[in-house]
């Protein structure tokens, strides 16, 4: 059976499941490895749709409700697709007192989405994170995995830079690989 409920192309015969199965086999002997498996799955799929959670539950002989319970407990696990580029505005104390709120507002304005949402073109996810431990540079934003010290005025340039990066990547890919 190969159905997809999320519209992101995760079907039960997705080749990424083979890698996930191999990872689960490698940690079978380790007690309490569910969170490691979920990290791996999210790394592979970008998020944790029902198909992925079901496979993990089945393979690890854990009730699906328990898997879902763990997924929804932790902030870093997503059950919805995320954007190609995650923009994560740090809202730790130091960032907050140095104006992270204004940076978040500016990103929301530039991207037309609120924190926790994804742009319609699925290019950007706007998120809020608690603290990345770069407090001495506050305010900071994690842009596509890279910690950056930003000012409110830098926001449009960051968005433009990522848009350009995405366009360049699309151009350098064969047509068949474009989605």
């Amino acid at each position: 059976m190969s159905t997809c409920c999320c519209g992101m192309g995760v079907t039960t015969d997705d080749p990424r499941f083979a890698e996930l199965d191999a990872f689960m086999a490698s940690v079978r002997e380790q007690p309490g490895s569910l969170i490691s498996v979920l990290h791996k799955a999210q790394q592979l799929f970008g998020f944790l749709p029902e198909e992925v959670e079901s496979r993990i539950a089945h393979t690890m002989s854990i009730p699906l409700t328990d898997v879902y319970g763990v997924v929804t407990f932790y902030n870093l696990f997503n059950t919805q697709p995320v954007g190609k580029y995650a923009i994560s505005v740090c809202m730790g104390t130091a960032c907050y007192v140095r104006g992270a709120g204004r940076i978040l507002d500016r990103f929301a304005e530039e991207l037309g989405v609120q924190a926790g949402q994804v742009t319609d073109d699925r290019l950007f996810s706007l998120e809020v994170c608690r603290c990345v431990g770069a407090c001495s540079l506050a305010p900071v934003v994690v842009v596509d995995g890279e910690v950056r010290q930003l000012k409110e005025a830098d926001v449009p340039a960051v968005v433009a830079e990522l848009r350009q990066r995405s366009e360049l990547e699309a151009l350098s890919q064969p047509v068949s690989a474009r989605s």
Binding site: F73, L76, T93, A94
Partner: protein, 634 residues
């Protein structure tokens, strides 16, 4: 990068000493202050590779420097080395040149050639890259000995951060790592290790300040065939980052201490629970564990003593409550990180219901030196009841941000004004926030408070993990309390109602007050709820969640009253209560405010007074911040 290679497995003290001896020159060079650089047989350029400096593109600086060294044919004599955090993150990317210890700030790729040619080759320091508190003055500070930021600091826990390459176990051994473990295994009984720790008076650096030696003893005495050693690296306090820096700069110190803990309590397996938000720390830890295993310093029969101990990493996934020890244990077990009722305490029934010792990163990082140099040496610094040093993460509205290690009992004033360089010009110190979402504020009148485990609770706050966020007159304390309650309410795991419902109710009340809809009854209600939540919650998260509210009510009640009675936010943070206007007398018509306005709400003609269209104003405060004539009023 050092080229020494001692590839064999280290299976005795003699072999460990041989590795240290092979790297002794490297360490000596990086501590040499007097040797003239042009005469030195070798020169080391230490580039900070901590998350902070990396965000300022320090890897680019390092690569450029490496390429230039090769280009100029200097590779035999000049080494470019990636090291851990120097602490002075504000100045990043930092490059320190040895011999001499010249401390260069904000080194960009285009500055590398000048450092190499002028300083390393020519012996003349590059003045413009030296630290100065005021660029207009000519005062420049050359080394960490001169820099005001390091005055009063004693780097014990951070001693190897900024000295060694954290990705090299040989350099770690050259800097004495694993010698404390060797001493414990070869010369001391488990009881003697614990006795030394108890004598040292070391208290847990994660927040609660529980005596570490006693914790180890309880765990040693607990009955169980299998025991575990856990390291809490889930540094959740937003505003604290010393654990991250220790793991990124000197991971072997933590591994060594955990192995000693295993020896002392009788455990063979350790787990480091580290936040997934710290990818570099995770990477360095993984590498350090692999290297230690390869060299036989973790695994079976360590140093030929028959003692076996291994360590695995467990990743968190973004849950503040997992910093609580029983929630952390649940999370290592792969479950939702919900705290367990205590007792039983983890020392008797922790991970998989086995006796478990749990200390935080900085606590472990203190232990090797206590074992090596003894409890009396440790007690030379700090106070009677809080011996040793404490690392603080200095951040917020302060000039010199970074990691600071000072003896316990150092006055807050010295940390803020000497080390921290005071608050930005034109601003006034208002509060130091310690203990994060579980702590409180220290107002200006208590600046002379000594920072230790006794003095802070007396002021209604706590040491916490060492976050020290400085706030000036631009911070609204009601808004700060709201910020923390929003945090704890969001991070409450939901297991016990006082925390789950109580923090939500408190947050609602604070939101009302910030919107100008609060009443005196709301303030009373906040205080009542605070007492109930503190008494009724299951774990430390809930029990301490009301602290930011109680602390700000204690010192800044007038601000709460201004919100309630006058519908004003004195600091101008609460948007609903702030209205900006331009004083027509003071405005010079420079248009700076109009250019900074994101909504084009400021109109006017250059050289004539400007004005704000209230209906367009989003109250962001940009105009207020940029106006040089104080013409924008609120």
């Amino acid at each position: 990068m050092t080229t020494m290679r001692v590839p064999t497995r280290i299976s005795s003290l003699l072999e460990l000493e041989a590795v240290r001896a092979a790297g002794a020159d490297v360490i000596a060079l990086r501590q040499a202050m007097e040797t003239p650089i042009t005469e030195a047989p070798e020169v080391h350029l230490l580039v900070c590779g901590d998350t902070g400096c990396r965000a300022n593109k320090s890897p680019l600086t390092r690569r450029t420097m490496e390429e230039l060294v090769v280009e100029h044919g200097l590779a035999d004599r000049v080494k470019v080395v990636q090291v851990g955090c120097f602490g002075f993150c504000k100045a990043g990317p930092v490059v320190v040149v040895y011999p001499g210890g010249t401390f260069y700030c904000h080194v960009k790729p285009q500055d590398c050639a000048e450092i190499l040619l002028r300083h390393v080759m020519g012996g003349q320091p590059v003045e413009r890259l030296l630290f100065t508190p005021n660029p207009k003055e000519k005062v420049r500070f050359h080394t960490t000995v001169d820099l005001p930021f390091y005055q009063g600091q004693v780097r014990r826990v951070l001693k190897n951060c900024g000295l060694i390459n954290p990705e090299s176990i040989d350099e770690a051994i050259a800097a004495d790592r694993y010698f404390a473990l060797a001493k414990a295994l070869l010369e001391m009984t488990p009881d003697e290790v614990i006795a030394e720790l108890k004598k040292s008076g070391l208290r847990g650096r994660g927040g609660a300040g529980f005596p570490t030696g006693l914790k180890w003893e309880l765990c040693q005495k607990a009955v169980g065939d299998v025991k575990y050693v856990v390291c809490n690296a889930d540094e959740g306090d937003p505003g604290a980052f010393m654990d991250r820096s220790i793991l990124e700069g000197d991971p072997h110190g933590v591994l060594e201490a955990m192995a000693m803990a295993g020896y002392a309590i009788g455990a063979q397996q350790g787990y480091i629970y580290v936040r997934a938000e710290y990818p570099l720390a995770v990477e360095r830890l993984k590498l350090a564990i692999r290297q230690a295993r390869e060299r036989g310093l973790l695994g079976k029969n360590i140093l030929g003593t028959g003692f076996s101990f291994d360590i695995d990493i467990r990743l968190g996934a973004g849950a503040f409550v997992c910093g609580e020890e029983t929630a952390l244990i649940e999370s290592i077990e792969g479950k939702r990180g919900m705290p367990r009722p205590k007792p039983p305490f983890p020392a008797t029934a922790g991970l998989w219901q086995k006796p478990t010792l749990n200390n935080n990163v900085e606590t472990y990082a203190n232990i090797p030196q206590i074992v090596l140099f003894g409890a009396d040496w440790f007690r030379q610094l700090g106070t009677e009841k809080s011996p040793g040093t404490k690392v603080f993460a200095l951040a917020g509205q302060i000039n010199n941000t970074g990691l600071v290690e000072v003896p316990m009992g150092t006055k807050l004033r010295d940390v803020v004004f000497t080390i921290g360089g005071g608050v930005p010009k034109g601003r006034e110190f208002k509060a130091a926030q310690t203990g994060g979402p579980s702590g409180g504020c220290i107002p200006a009148e208590h600046l002379d408070t000594p920072l230790d485990f006794e003095s802070l609770p007396a002021l209604g706050t706590m040491m916490g993990s060492g976050g020290l966020t400085i706030m000036t007159d631009t911070a609204c304390m009601v808004d700060l309390a709201r910020f923390y309650l929003e945090f704890t309410q969001d991070e409450s795991c939901g297991k016990c109602p006082p925390c789950r419902i109580g923090t939500k109710r408190m947050l609602e009340l604070l939101e009302q007050i910030c919107e100008g809809k609060g009443t005196h009854a709301d303030i009373d209600q906040l205080e009542r709820l605070a007492v109930g939540i503190r008494k009724g919650s299951l774990c430390g998260l809930g029990q301490s969640a009301p602290n930011p509210v109680l602390s700000t009510l204690r010192y800044y009640r007038d601000e709460y009253l201004a919100h309630v009675d006058d519908h004003k936010c004195p600091a101008g943070r609460c948007k609903a209560l702030t209205e900006y206007q331009i004083d027509q007398e003071l405005c010079k018509g420079c248009a700076l405010c109009a250019r900074s306005c994101p909504t084009d709400a400021i109109v006017g003609e250059v050289k004539h007074p400007f004005s704000i269209k209230i209906d367009l104003c989003i109250r962001c405060g940009n105009c207020y911040d940029v106006c040089k004539f104080h013409a924008v009023v609120r």
